[in-house]
Amino acid sequence: MSNHLENSDGGPLPANAGIGLRAPHHLHVLSESPDVSWFEAHSENYFAEGGSHVECLSRIRARYRLSLHGVGLSLGSIDPLNREHLGNLRRVIARFEPTLVSEHLSWSSVGGQFANDLLPLPYTEEALRHVGSRIAQVQDALGRQILLENVSSYMQFSASTMTEWEFVAGVAAESGCGILLDLNNVYVAAHNHEFDSHHYLEGIPRHIVQEFHLAGFSRIDLDGRDLLIDTHGTPVCDAVWDLYRAALRRFGNVPTLIEWDTNLPSFDVLQAQARKADSLRSALRALAA
């Protein structure tokens, strides 16, 4: 019996890489009990009172550790915090008892209208104070710390007065949240906005990063130059694996997640990506020893 079955409660997430759980893989996970350290699920996909998704996640949770990752709280919005959404989030946390709860450092609604996409904020003092206080409100309501993920972006606002990494570090300092550092998003944003992804890592304080995300992107042509799009539809690229090595050196043994959303492949492809992350981490530890 693999050790994840004995590991379903208590303590931090295991060091071995977890996998983003997607509904087409539910039955495979339930029938095969694959050797995976932990899963991360999108909170909103399990907001329903009942039905097959909720039933599957309950059964998967009985065997594996879990992180819940939200996409819909719209933390950066100037609208009042959506109490119904927050109530649903509180309910899924009580139901599935995740080790980590995370959301995105972005906004997706205003005036009660939702774009249902992760829109970047302007990196200003006003936005920093606003989103920082909203995160603090959510942490108070949930009675726990949450992690905020840096988003990939394709545009920047002229109003920004600081770099993205200054903003991310500032939000963590303002609210006391942890950071979920998505290394693919750092790479995509660095390419799209022409900054050095390693400067980004150096700008994030060591102690605040509590999870890494790894995923793949695609490219589109923007008037003769590439724009990278965070599609989560391809394997992690070599440059992002390099950035992962740098992140492991800087931030240490942080739980790492493999994400894949579009063109979802068979489950073993995701497991192979997780094993690759594990082998990179082991190699670095061996070097350091």
């Binding site: 909103e44 329903a48 039905g51 959404h85 205003v110 774009a115 302007p122 394709y154 545009m155 923007l222």
Partner: protein, 260 residues
Amino acid sequence: MPSLRELQVHVMDALLGAGLPRATALIAGSPTEAERRFGVYANTVQGNFRDALHSTYPAVRRLVGDDYFRQTAREFQRRHPSRSGDLVHCGQGFSDYLAQLHPDDGFTYLADVARLEWLIQESLLAAEHASLDLESLARVPPAAYDGLRFELHPALRLFESRYPALAIWEVNVGSDAEPPTLDLRSGADLIAIMRQRLQLQFHRLSAGEHCFLRAFEQGECFSAAVDCGGEADAAFAASAALQRFVAAGAVVAFTSTVKT
């Protein structure tokens, strides 16, 4: 410098199709470049909404085809943008919207198929409930029957249509084969949509049964529900109907004003 509120309002307006220049003026780079970069978001916002609508309304999409569905989803999103951070709700009101688009042409049935698909989604996401406690029902004194209020399963939804909407739905989901031609005059639907554990079920109802369950849904007591059933259908037999719905798990609880 725009306030955070101004920035968000301009960006949202443009994402929903109004006032693009006010949004692109906020974005770093030349106007052309800003527009191209903004376009990435606009495409995603439309695509996410359309995909969610498709996942709620697979039969409607099959019936109208990809191009018309894409165009209709776009227009529906402009007029009725998502009001929730959970896209599963974005299709609320799509049936009414289709009814306005097709008030009196050959496609009036589309709104009914959409309403059926919305109710199916609600049923699929509803809570579980244990079946009725028959022993406690047996302890109710006969004199108290009339005042009982029966509760329906949280996943039960009542559906009616003057078209054979369920048959249209069934031939348009689940298979890529060309669906057979159906005669729109081949029957009207009175249906209880149910979910037992994870299994979707459809129970065809008589007019009396439909009114009987509708009365329960509206919180009427047993005697009022029996009257509703009898008014709709002279042959309605209340005790047989109640037995049927308890056995099917459609009626799951009751409250009595008399202590049992």
